[in-house]
C-alpha cells in the first residue's frame, strides 16, 4: 500500500544536484504555478489537498495560508521551519540532506502563493553541515533562473536565505522562531495577533515545516484533489515517520496515512520488529511531547480496533487511552526500558529548553525534573507521584506557548500508564539505586 511521493526519487544517484533533479522532472511544479496559476489558485489547490502542517500541530496548511493579510502594504514573508529539535524526530534533516531541491521547489511555489518576495530557512544551529548543502542547492537554483529576479521570465522575484539558530528547542515554536530571526532571545509571543498579520518585522508571515513545504511540490504536480484521496479521512497524503529506539531498522519512512501501527512496527518494510526479538513495552509515536502509550493501547484502541497511523486514530480515546501523531518522531521502547528513567530524561529536556517567560513552565519543569530524578535514584517519597501529577496538571494550558503542554504530557501520561513502575521505584529504593536502568519487572518479587 502506498507509493512514495516525497521520497520517490531519493534513490536516484546525484538527486541532490540541480541537473539530476531537473532531469528527473524536478521544478515542474514551479513552472506550473508561476506560468499557469495565480497565487490564489495555488492556495486553493493546497486547501483542497487537505495537507496538514507536518511540524507537529497538524493545522491545515491551506487555512493557515488563507489567513495571510493580503490587504497589507507591507512585504510578506515565508519562513521554513527547519529547527527540528523534537526528541525522536529527524525527518527534516533527512529530507534536506538528500532532497534539498524538493524543499526549495516547494518553497518557491509556496512563496509565490503567499506573494512573498523573501523567504528564510531557519535551521537549527546543530545542523551546520546542512547549511552548506542548502546553500549549494540554492546557488544552483539561482544560476538556473529559478530564484532571483523575474523567475522563468515572469514578473515574480524571490530570494531565499538560510538562517542558523544556535541550539534552542523553543525556536521551533513559530513566534519564538520569528523573535530569534529578528536577532533576539527565543521567547514566544502572545497570540493573537497571529503571524499572518504581525509576523517577522511586524509583517504578514507564514511559518511552515520543511516537510509541509516539500509536500506542496507534490500537491501542485498531482493536483489537490488527487492528493486528498491519498491517506485516510482527514489525514490526507503521506507522512514521513522517523522511527527510532529499540527496533531493528531505525530510519525515516514515508507512509501513506492509514497503515496500522502494528504493521509499521513489525513489517520488514518499516521498523522490522523489536530488536533482539524482545517484547514491545511502549511507544511515543509523535516526538517526545506526545503522551506515551503502553503496547496494548498503541496496537489497539481502547475499543479494540486496530490503531492506524493517522492523526485521528492515534488520538482516539483522548489522553486517557490515546496520543497524537505529532511530528512523526516514533520512539519504540522494548520490555527492558525503564519508563521512569525515560520520563526523567524528557523532563530534563523540557527544563533545559524552557525559555523562562511563564512561571508555570519555568518553575514547573524544574520541579518535574527534580522529583523524577529523586524517584529514579531511589530517593522518592510516597507522595511524590501525586505531587508530580499535580505539577504537570498545573503547567498544562497555563503558558503562552505549547512548550508547557509538551513538558506536562510525557509526565502525566507516564504516570497514567506506568504508575506501577513509579511505585516500585519508591517502594524499593535499594534496588533502583543499584541498577542504572533496565526492566524493573525482573526485580519484582
Amino acid at each position: 500500500m502506498g507509493g512514495k511521493i516525497l521520497l520517490e526519487k531519493i534513490n536516484i544517484p546525484g538527486i541532490e544536484t540541480f541537473d539530476i533533479y531537473r532531469k528527473s522532472g524536478g521544478y515542474s511544479a514551479v513552472e506550473k504555478a508561476l506560468k499557469t496559476m495565480t497565487p490564489a489558485e495555488v492556495v486553493e489547490e493546497v486547501r483542497k489537498s487537505g495537507l496538514r502542517g507536518r511540524g507537529g500541530a497538524g493545522f491545515p496548511t491551506g487555512m493557515k495560508w488563507g489567513f495571510i493579510d493580503r490587504k497589507s502594504e507591507k512585504p510578506h514573508y515565508l519562513i521554513c521551519n527547519a529547527d527540528e529539535s523534537e526528541p525522536g524526530t529527524f525527518k527534516d534533516r533527512y529530507l534536506m540532506e538528500h532532497l534539498p531541491h524538493l524543499l526549495i521547489e516547494g518553497m518557491i511555489c509556496s512563496a509565490f502563493a503567499l506573494e512573498a518576495k523573501t523567504a528564510y530557512i531557519y535551521i537549527r544551529g546543530e545542523f551546520k553541515y546542512l547549511i552548506g548543502i542548502l546553500n549549494k542547492a540554492l546557488s544552483e537554483a539561482y544560476a538556473n533562473g529559478f530564484l532571483g529576479k523575474n523567475i522563468l521570465g515572469t514578473s515574480y522575484c524571490l530570494d531565499i536565505y538560510v538562517h542558523p539558530g544556535a541550539g534552542a528547542y523553543i525556536c521551533g515554536e513559530e513566534t519564538a522562531l520569528i523573535e530569534s530571526l529578528e536577532g533576539k532571545r527565543g521567547n514566544p509571543r502572545l497570540k493573537p495577533p497571529f503571524p499572518a498579520f504581525f509576523g517577522l518585522y511586524s509583517c504578514p508571515t507564514v511559518v511552515n515545516n520543511v516537510e509541509t513545504l516539500a509536500a506542496v511540490t507534490s500537491i501542485l504536480n498531482m493536483g489537490g484533489d488527487f492528493y486528498s484521496k491519498l491517506g485516510n479521512g482527514k489525514s490526507t497524503g503521506t507522512k514521513l515517520i522517523s522511527a527510532c529506539g529499540n527496533i531493528n531498522k531505525p530510519g525515516v519512512y514515508e507512509i501513506e496515512m492509514g497503515i496500522t501501527v502494528e504493521d509499521f512496527i513489525y513489517s520488514e518494510k518499516y521498523c522490522g520488529g523489536i530488536k533482539g526479538g524482545k517484547n514491545l513495552k511502549a511507544v511515543v509515536p509523535g516526538g517526545s511531547s506526545v503522551p506515551v502509550l503502553p503496547a496494548q493501547l498503541i496496537l489497539k484502541t481502547a475499543s479494540g480496533q486496530p490503531r492506524l497511523m493517522t492523526y485521528e486514530s492515534l488520538a482516539e480515546g483522548g489522553f486517557e487511552t490515546g496520543t497524537m501523531l505529532g511530528s512523526g518522531g516514533f520512539i519504540v521502547y522494548d520490555e527492558d526500558q525503564c519508563m521512569v528513567r525515560n520520563t526523567m530524561s524528557f523532563a530534563r529536556f523540557y527544563h533545559h529548553e524552557s525559555c523562562g517567560q511563564c512561571s508555570p513552565c519555568r518553575e514547573g519543569t524544574g520541579w518535574q525534573e527534580r522529583l523524577l530524578y529523586r524517584i529514579e535514584h531511589g530517593l522518592g517519597r510516597a507522595k511524590d507521584i501525586d505531587l508530580l501529577a499535580d505539577i504537570s496538571k498545573h503547567i498544562e494550558g497555563n503558558t503562552i506557548c505549547p512548550l508547557g503542554d509538551a513538558a506536562a504530557w510525557p509526565v502525566s501520561s507516564a504516570i497514567r500508564h506506568f504508575r506501577n513502575e513509579f511505585e516500585f521505584h519508591i517502594e524499593h529504593p535499594e534496588i533502583v539505586k543499584n541498577i542504572s536502568h533496565g526492566n524493573i519487572d525482573k526485580y519484582r518479587k
Binding site: 512585504p75 529539535s85 523534537e86 526528541p87 525522536g88 529527524f90 523573501t118 544551529g125 546543530e126 545542523f127 551546520k128 553541515y129 547549511i131 552548506g132 546553500n135 549549494k136 540554492l138 546557488s139 530570494d159 536565505y161 538560510v162 538562517h163 542558523p164 539558530g165 544556535a166 541550539g167 534552542a168 528547542y169 530569534s180 529578528e182 536577532g183 533576539k184 532571545r185 527565543g186 518585522y201 522517523s242 522511527a243 527510532c244 529506539g245 529499540n246 531505525p250 511515543v284 517526545s288 518522531g329 520512539i331 521502547y333 526500558q337 528513567r341 525515560n342 530524561s345 524528557f346 530534563r348 529536556f349 527544563h351 533545559h352 529548553e353 524552557s354 523562562g356 542504572s436 536502568h437
Partner: protein, 196 residues
C-alpha cells in the same frame, strides 16, 4: 535557557581589540545585507557563530561588544542573546567540543553507557576541558539524529551509532589531527553561511 548563565563571567574583559579579517568582514557585510534595511540585528546569531569560530571557540564581553558595534546595537542586546542559546560558549573551551546526547531515544539505545565511557576515557566530567586543552565535553539535549543513536557531535561533525570502539577511534582521530580543520579557514565562513 542555559541553566548556568549566572555562573559565566560574561563581563570578563581582556581589553583586547578583536577584529574580523578583511575577508571575513566582507562576508559579514554580505550576511547583514540579507535582511531589510534597519533590521540588521537579524544577523546577530550568524555573526556570533562566526565570531565564536574566528576568535578561539568562545565568546567574551570584548567580542560581544565588537559584534554589537558591527550591527549598531547595544551590547546588552548581544549579551542577552549569547546567554540564551546553548551553542554560544561563554567559558573557554578546548580545541574540540564534544557534545554527547543525553535525551530519551539515545538513552534507550545505550547512550548513558557511552557518556560514562567518554568521561572515563577523557578523565573529565561534563562541562570540563581536558588538561591538554584538546577536548571539552558537554552533555546536551537531543541532536536530532535519534535513528542513529547513540549520537555525539564534535564541533560540526556528527558521529553516530556510537560504541566504545567507535569512541576510541574518534578520539584518536581528533587527537592526532594537529590542526583543527576549520579554524582560520576562510572558506569555512563561505561554506556555511553564504551562497555564491
Amino acid at each position: 535557557m542555559s541553566e548556568n548563565h549566572n555562573k559565566h563571567e560574561i563581563y570578563k574583559r581582556e581589553g583586547k581589540l578583536y577584529k574580523f579579517s578583511d575577508y571575513t568582514l566582507k562576508r559579514v557585510n554580505e550576511i547583514i545585507e540579507r535582511y531589510p534595511e534597519g533590521k540588521q540585528k537579524s544577523a546577530l546569531i550568524p555573526l556570533l557563530h562566526i565570531a565564536q569560530e574566528e576568535f578561539g571557540g568562545s565568546l567574551n564581553a570584548d567580542i560581544m561588544d565588537y559584534v554589537a558595534g558591527l550591527l549598531s546595537i547595544k551590547p546588552i542586546e548581544v549579551y542577552e542573546v549569547a546567554t540564551f542559546y546553548s551553542q554560544f560558549y561563554l567559558d573557554n573551551v578546548g580545541k574540540y567540543v564534544i557534545e554527547i546526547c543525553q535525551t530519551g531515544p539515545c538513552l534507550a539505545c545505550g547512550g548513558d553507557e557511552m557518556i560514562d565511557y567518554l568521561k572515563t576515557k577523557l578523565g573529565i566530567e561534563a562541562g570540563e576541558t581536558t588538561a591538554d586543552g584538546i577536548f571539552t565535553l558537554k552533555q546536551v539535549e537531543c541532536l536530532g539524529a535519534c535513528g542513529y543513536a547513540p549520537v555525539m557531535q564534535v564541533n560540526t561533525c556528527f558521529h553516530e551509532n556510537l560504541t566504545k570502539e567507535r569512541i576510541d577511534e574518534i578520539i584518536d582521530l581528533y587527537k592526532n589531527q594537529a590542526e583543527k580543520p576549520q579554524s582560520n579557514d576562510e572558506k569555512w565562513v563561505e561554506k556555511f553561511y553564504l551562497r555564491k
